[in-house]
């Protein structure tokens, strides 16, 4: 008689497992905007994946790990794309991917969250907080957010490019991840 009760207490005390989600590639996007000679230029990374576990009722168990293929960069200009992949910028030959690994989710009201994590670009890892809105509609979730990064923190744009004269230091990332429940 006592054992089942104890078992029941044990089970309910275990934090609820977060739901696993599968990113839908065709509907998700990772765009960025920077200034080139003072004018905004927008590009995107076409190939990236995200492993997501998320349940608003179990934020402690939520996690996301995203991997971005540097060589999938597209800014509408092949010469510039090649430059971005080159050694002065992302050095895709040595560092083919960038990575974001979450360290914690914080609810900030309604559908809004702050997703803290570590972003690795090239060989530099730095903490980043992504303000996101995450809406779940049945088996479908949409996460949207944007954050401004300083490219110099990650050593992106070296040598003559380190100055902000030709290419600004601030890069606005805009991401939209659409996922289906696993």
């Amino acid at each position: 008689m006592r054992l089942p009760v104890a078992l029941l207490i044990c089970l309910t005390a275990v934090p609820a497992a977060a739901r696993d989600w599968r990113m839908i590639e065709g509907e998700s996007s990772l765009a960025f905007t920077f200034r080139q000679m003072g004018s905004p230029v927008t590009g995107r990374f076409d190939a990236f994946t995200a492993d997501i576990s998320f349940d608003p009722q179990a934020l402690d168990a939520a996690s996301v790990e995203a991997v971005i293929e540097i060589s999938s960069v597209a800014t509408g200009n092949a010469e510039r794309d090649a430059g971005i992949e080159g050694p002065d910028w992302f050095d895709a030959a040595a560092y083919p991917t960038a990575r974001f690994v979450s360290t914690g989710f914080t609810a900030t009201g309604g559908d809004a969250y702050e997703v803290a994590g570590e972003l690795t670009i090239r060989d530099v890892t730095a903490p980043v907080v992504l303000p996101m809105t995450i809406t779940i509609d049945g088996d479908r979730a949409v996460a949207k957010g944007s954050v401004e990064l300083d490219r110099t923190v990650f050593g992106v744009g070296r040598g003559d490019w380190a100055s902000a004269t030709a290419v600004g230091h601030e890069v606005m990332l805009e991401l939209e991840v659409v996922a289906a429940a696993d």
Binding site: Q36, M37, G38, S39, P40, V41, T42, T75, G76, N77, A78, E79, R80, A82, G83, D160, W161, S163, T165, A166, V167
Partner: protein
């Protein structure tokens, strides 16, 4: 100094438009021919940005000059020019005007096609006329290049013509553009 043109001379406005445009064109030709040799670098971005700012300025000045011509005409060609000579002079003048519209417009479109918007001397972003398009970029680049070479040819003829008027025909054609009309 008179501002307006008359049948026998150019006013200050047309004179200034002509010479400012002339200086900008030589600067643009030099920039255009040298910047394409630069590797992808901040210096290359700066050269292109300056080329775009100057080119858009020329476009504005040429439109202003065309409007000004429309409003108060231009001095007539001197008497005594042969039929062929007049024809060539008119063709070169018209050619230069057409090229001074085609070149900046193709450059402006090229900026859009290569997703590299112009920023007028750092004051404001110039809206792109079209979106990124690599095929169109190749065509526009060719148009811009060929029109630029044609412009150099027309400018050579233009200068030779002016010198011919001054030293061979000994008329006032060169002088009236060197100095604006006084009365």
């Amino acid at each position: 100094m008179r501002l307006t043109n008359s049948p026998d001379g150019f006013g200050l406005v047309h004179w200034a438009l002509h010479w400012v445009t002339a200086v900008l064109i030589f600067w643009l030709l030099w920039l255009g021919l040298t910047m394409v040799e630069l590797p992808l670098s901040p210096q290359m971005f700066q050269a292109y940005a300056l080329h775009k700012s100057l080119g858009l300025t020329v476009l504005a000045l040429v439109l202003a000059r065309l409007a000004w011509r429309r409003l108060n005409g231009v001095p007539a060609l001197p008497e005594g020019m042969g039929r062929l000579e007049s024809l060539v002079a008119t063709a070169v003048h018209h050619g230069i005007y057409v090229l001074l519209l085609v070149i900046p417009l193709s450059g402006w479109l090229y900026s859009g096609a290569t997703a590299s918007p112009a920023n007028w001397f750092g004051f404001f972003t110039v809206p792109d006329l079209i979106g990124a398009n690599e095929t169109l970029a190749k065509v526009l680049r060719a148009v811009h290049d060929i029109a630029g070479k044609l412009l150099m040819l027309c400018l050579a003829l233009h200068v030779l013509g002016a010198l011919k008027h001054h030293f061979i025909s000994r008329d006032s054609v060169l002088k009236r553009m060197l100095l604006p009309r006084r009365s």
